[in-house]
Structure formats: structure tokens, C-alpha cells
């Protein structure tokens, strides 16, 4: 039981990190980022390739995964996103452009996997890094290190992001630019720098999320494409306009997916596990239909009065 909970915690922390990446990019540039799938998958592959070639614990290579995906984020901004933002394209056009880039990146992941297979004789089309994970022994029971590292990484990221956005000058400029781009531009904040750094931060978060996730689920080239809907669900349930909302949304989605299917399979039998990917989709659809702007759209004050008055007007 404790193993399941630990694993669920690790999984949902990864989802939360990835969801916050989508939200940051969306908040700053109005771009709903489909390249997220490839950024995640590149996180998987960088950690996998480096740890198989050079040996050692996969955790050593998380930094490279994060930086590589961050660079990809900057690449997306410089090549396509900047021009479209200047042209004031609609949200759907921005979304489509990242989708096109995602297909290209996806092809390169496959080419990279082929390259690993032919040159290093590694099984790069299907791999489980879980086996290379450290095991922490507590005497009575032992757990995989990812169960501790992923939640800690998420909490650290939350604190770091909070400090960055609230205390540093650049972070404050970033928030100002997100809230009111015109006014921020007037007092001399360079919006392009803000956009680029949000793409970089988003990429780093996605790469980190992918690198950590590689120790929870099996990796294959299309791993980003299949899990991306879960990340979207986390981000959308969180409301798309709040980083902390997205972290909460990601946690909620991840936990309910992992634990929900565990309890359902106990009640309904093991066959139900095949339907696991439907859970985040259902939660997202239901949340959106009740609160069309996600959980962040709920006004806390109003909620309080409703509870206070016992639901009556």
C-alpha cells in the first residue's frame, strides 16, 4: 500500500511540474504549447541516453535534460513563436504552430532513438529506467528514491519560482508584462526578453518533469504524445492563469489517476487498468463544464459566503 502511495506521489509531482510548464508559457505568450510532448520525451531520452552511455545514476543527468529542453523552448520561441506574437496571431494559430514543430521534434526523437540503437547497441525504442533507480532502505521497508526526490524537486521548484516571481526584479517585470503587456512595455520592460525567458523556464520545467517521469513509467518515443493530455488536464484544471493552480491541478490529476485506478481495480478487477488514461480526461471535462475557467476561476470569497450561509441565498 505504502509503495503505491509513494509511486502515486512521485507520478503526480512530475505531472504537476509539467502542467506548470504549460501554464507559464500560456500565461506569458498565449500559446498553448503542443511541443510540450516532445520536450517531455526529450527529457526522457537525454536522461536515458546519458545514463546508458556514461553509466551512473540517472539523477546525475537531470540537469542536462532540463537545460536541453530549455534550449528547445528558446528555439521554439526564436524560430516561430516570436514572429507570430509580433503578428498578433490568434490562439488557435499559435497552438497549430507549436503542433507543427512538435511533429518535427517527434521525428528527431525517433531519429535519435534509431541512432542510439545502431551506434551504441542500446534498446532505445522501449526502456525502463525504473530499474536503475536508487533504493532507500528504512529498515522496516525500502522505497525507490524517486518517491522522495520527485516531491522534493517539486516543492523546491515551487519555492524557487515563488522567490523568483515575487522578490527578484526580473520576476516582477515578468509578472507585470504578463498582466499588462502594453503598460509594462511603456515603462521600459522588454517583452521579447520576457517571452523568451518564459519559454526557457517552461522548457526547463518540462525537461525536468520528463527526466523524473522516466523513473516512474516506461519510455518510448511517443511517450510525450500519449501523456500530454494528462499534462493538459492538470494545467486546465488548475485554470491556465495561475502557476500554483497548475501545480495543484497536476497533483490532483496525477493522484486521482494513479490512486483512482488502483482502487477501481480492487473493486472491479484488473481489466479496468487499461482505461486509466480516461480518468484525467474525465476530471478535466467535468471540471470545465462546471467551471469553464478551471479551478482558478472559482472565487474563494464567494465560495466562503456560500458555505457560510449554508448554500441559501
Amino acid at each position: 500500500m505504502i509503495e503505491i502511495i509513494i509511486k502515486a506521489l512521485a507520478y503526480s509531482s512530475c505531472i504537476a511540474l509539467g502542467a506548470s510548464s504549460i501554464t507559464i508559457i500560456y500565461m506569458a505568450t498565449r500559446t498553448f504549447n503542443f511541443t510540450h510532448a516532445s520536450l517531455i520525451a526529450w527529457g526522457f531520452y537525454i536522461v536515458f541516453a546519458l545514463s546508458s552511455i556514461f553509466g551512473g545514476s540517472p539523477y546525475l543527468y537531470l540537469v542536462f535534460a532540463a537545460l536541453f529542453s530549455g534550449m528547445l523552448g528558446i528555439l521554439v520561441y526564436l524560430t516561430v513563436n516570436r514572429r507570430l506574437l509580433k503578428a498578433r496571431s490568434s490562439e488557435v494559430v499559435l497552438m497549430m504552430s507549436t503542433l507543427g514543430l512538435d511533429l518535427i521534434f517527434f521525428a528527431f526523437i525517433n531519429i535519435f532513438a534509431d541512432f542510439l540503437t545502431t551506434n551504441y547497441r542500446i534498446h532505445a525504442r522501449y526502456f525502463a529506467l525504473e530499474l536503475k533507480d536508487l533504493i532507500i532502505d528504512f529498515g522496516i521497508f525500502s522505497i525507490r528514491a524517486i518517491g522522495v526526490i520527485a516531491p522534493i524537486a517539486m516543492i523546491l521548484i515551487v519555492l524557487a519560482l515563488n522567490l523568483f516571481l515575487m522578490k527578484t526584479k526580473f520576476g516582477i517585470a515578468m509578472r507585470a508584462s504578463i498582466e499588462n503587456p502594453g503598460l509594462a512595455g511603456m515603462i521600459g520592460i522588454n517583452p521579447e526578453l520576457i517571452y523568451m525567458s518564459s519559454w526557457f523556464i517552461g522548457g526547463v520545467l518540462a525537461g525536468l518533469s520528463g527526466g523524473l517521469l522516466s523513473m516512474v513509467i516506461t519510455g518510448y518515443p511517443a511517450v510525450g504524445m500519449t501523456t500530454i493530455v494528462t499534462f493538459f488536464a492538470g494545467s486546465i484544471v488548475g485554470g491556465l492563469y495561475s502557476i500554483f493552480g497548475s501545480l495543484l491541478g497536476g497533483l490532483l490529476i496525477g493522484l486521482s489517476e494513479f490512486l483512482g485506478i488502483y482502487f477501481l481495480s480492487m473493486v472491479l478487477g484488473g481489466e479496468i487498468t487499461a482505461y486509466r488514461p480516461i480518468i484525467p480526461l474525465l476530471i478535466m471535462a467535468v471540471t470545465l463544464l462546471i467551471y469553464p475557467r478551471g479551478l482558478a476561476g472559482i472565487s474563494l470569497g464567494r465560495l466562503k459566503t456560500i458555505i457560510w450561509r449554508g448554500g441559501s441565498k
Partner: protein, 355 residues
């Protein structure tokens, strides 16, 4: 008999199916302005109908298992062979079952469209797109895992309504011609819609919802109608593809192939313009089929697997189009209405009848 090289046949069938799906997508995206990222939902519905309904009807007529057993692959593979033998002797029955299935697919597609109208009326842009995408994924997961309808991972065989022609090349030629004919009909239908008052309302809604409301147009109703028509057309496309390929496996109906690629076709040709869509689909079907057919040759020239070349090409097309020519190859033009002389003539005719 004329010999048609298989590569031409492949281009034509890809063109016909692609045209149907993309036209239906264009109706919702190009005309109504709904970010339809879940096209695969309706397409898969059509394919499920083709996999589940005609075989069961015929099995029932032949006193064979037609319930959940029908989808069990060991029974299904043998049973559909029997059914095909019956169909081969009976052209009228074949045509009948073909048409009944298409009608059924269109109806069920329409229902799916009506259901998706529920979020489509309430949500905006990115939220709506991702919700529709989620619906499509959810149906694919169910079809891939729930055995009694279309056999889950094993899939089912689809009865072949073209069997009376034969089994070889001739059958594929005939099937391709039939499907091209249906695609052309659907294209003409979409053209007619775009020139009708309904088409103009759709465009008005897309360009300015408030203005359309001011003129007394019922926006939720129009949106739902666009979704219903689009989804039923897409379902017909899905059913046709299942009939052509002779089998139905949920894994073949991924969002990549049946949602994102039609988007690329549409954007290349020109969003909101049926003729542009036709040209976009034609270009893509030629290029994709060529890559697919000359894989062996390509592998010896370039160092990468040609599969990935296809992805790069589609992705690059989307990016280049979005950046440098957002209106597509043929930009949208105001739809032509009847000339003033013709309208006068009709008016005179009407007054004459009244007298």
C-alpha cells in the same frame, strides 16, 4: 480493361478519404470558427459503425452469433469470410448494406456532433480545443480496450460490399471510384452550404459573434448545426475507410492521423475555402503516397528512416504556412451568390405563380 498502377490508386483513395475528412473539418474550423481538435472522435465513430453494424445485421440474417460473440476475433474472422462469400453472390444486398451503414454512420456522427456541441457552446478557444481532443482520445481508449463492440486490440474484419466485383485489383479500383464519387458529392454539398444563407451565418459568427447576435442569429443553434453536419460527414469518411481497408482496429484511428494531418491539409490549401482544401489534400496525398511507396529507394539515399521524413514534412508545412502564408495556397474569397438578374427572374417567377 484499363490497367491502373497501384500507386495512382493509393493516391486516389487517400485523396478521397482525406477530402471528406478535411472538408468536414473545414466546415467547423474554417466556416464556423470552432477549434475542432477532436476530429478523430467522429471519424472513429463512423469506423466503429462500419465494424459493428453491417456484419451483425448479416450475421443475424444468417443465424450466426451476432451479439458480443461477433466481435471475438476467432469467431469474427471466420464469420466475416462466410459473410463475404454471401455478399460476393449478391450485389444488391451488398449495395444495400453499404448504404444502410453509411446512413447509420452519418446519424451516429450527427449525435456525436450534438453531444460535442454541449462544451462547444460554453467554452472558448484553447479550453474548447483541448476538451474536444480529450473526447477523441477517450473514445479511442474505450474502443481499444472494450472487446464486445469492435474486438478491442484484435479488431474486427469489416464485411466487404465490393466483393461481387472480385478480390484483386479490380475490387480496389471499383471501391476507389465509388469513394471518389462520394467525396465529390460531399465536396459539392459543402460548396452549396458555403453559398447558402446558412454558410453566411457561419462566417458571420466566426468573424464577429456579437454582430451576428445583433442581427438576431441564434448562435448556440448555429454552432450545434455546424458541429452536427461536420461530424456526420466525418463519420461517413471513417466508415468508408473501414470498408476500403476491410478491417477495423482502434489503434489505426489516432489523433495524429485523423485530426492533426487534416488540419495540415486544410491550412496548406486555405482555411475557409473548399477549393483550397481540395488542392491541399491533393498535394499531401500525392507526397505522402510517394514517400510511402518509395521507402526502399529513399532509405538508400538519406540516412534516416523515411517514416520520420513524413512527420518532418507535415510539421514543416504547418509551420511554414502558419508563418509565411496564413491564408493558405488559395485565400478565402467572399462566396458568390446569385447574380442580381437571376434573383430578379426568380422574384418575377414567384409573383407570376402567386397571380
Amino acid at each position: 480493361m484499363i490497367e491502373v498502377p497501384p500507386i495512382i490508386l493509393n493516391i486516389l483513395i487517400n485523396f478521397a478519404i482525406g477530402l471528406i475528412i478535411t472538408i468536414s473539418l473545414n466546415l467547423e474550423v474554417g466556416y464556423a470558427g470552432i477549434p475542432q481538435f477532436g476530429r478523430v472522435l467522429a471519424v472513429l465513430t463512423g469506423a466503429i459503425v462500419a465494424g459493428a453494424i453491417p456484419g451483425r445485421i448479416l450475421a443475424l440474417m444468417m443465424n450466426q452469433p451476432s451479439g458480443a460473440d461477433y466481435a471475438y476475433h476467432l469467431i469474427n474472422y471466420r464469420l466475416v469470410e462466410d459473410i463475404n462469400r454471401v455478399l460476393a453472390l449478391n450485389p444488391i444486398l451488398s449495395a444495400g448494406i453499404f448504404i444502410v451503414t453509411l446512413v447509420f454512420a452519418a446519424c451516429l456522427g450527427g449525435i456525436i456532433g450534438y453531444i460535442t456541441a454541449y462544451p462547444a457552446i460554453r467554452l472558448k478557444e484553447a479550453y474548447l480545443g483541448i476538451t474536444l481532443l480529450a473526447f477523441g482520445d477517450a473514445l479511442q481508449i474505450i474502443a481499444w480496450n472494450y472487446q464486445p463492440i469492435v474486438g478491442a486490440t484484435q479488431g474486427v474484419l469489416v464485411p466487404d460490399p465490393f466483393r461481387f466485383i472480385g478480390v484483386g485489383e479490380l475490387r480496389f479500383l471499383f471501391a476507389t471510384i465509388v469513394m471518389l464519387g462520394i467525396a465529390v458529392l460531399i465536396f459539392l454539398y459543402a460548396e452549396r452550404i458555403s453559398r447558402s444563407p446558412f454558410g453566411r451565418v457561419l462566417k458571420a459568427m466566426r468573424d464577429s459573434e456579437v454582430a451576428a447576435k445583433v442581427y438576431g442569429k441564434d448562435i448556440p443553434k448555429v454552432r450545434a448545426q455546424a458541429l452536427i453536419i461536420g461530424s456526420s460527414l466525418a463519420a461517413i469518411g471513417g466508415a468508408l475507410w473501414a470498408f476500403y481497408s476491410g478491417s477495423m482496429k482502434a489503434v489505426a484511428y489516432s489523433r495524429l492521423v485523423w485530426t492533426f494531418w487534416p488540419w495540415a491539409y486544410m491550412m496548406l490549401g486555405g482555411t475557409g475555402n473548399n477549393l483550397g482544401v481540395l488542392i491541399g489534400v491533393l498535394i499531401f496525398s500525392i507526397v505522402r503516397t510517394l514517400i510511402y511507396s518509395y521507402k526502399g529507394v529513399l532509405t538508400s539515399i538519406i540516412p534516416i528512416d523515411p517514416n520520420w521524413l513524413e512527420y518532418i514534412l507535415v510539421g514543416l508545412t504547418i509551420v511554414v504556412i502558419v508563418m509565411f502564408r496564413p491564408q493558405g495556397i488559395i485565400p478565402e474569397k467572399p462566396a458568390l451568390t446569385l447574380s442580381i438578374e437571376k434573383i430578379e427572374k426568380i422574384r418575377k417567377l414567384k409573383t407570376n405563380i402567386k397571380k
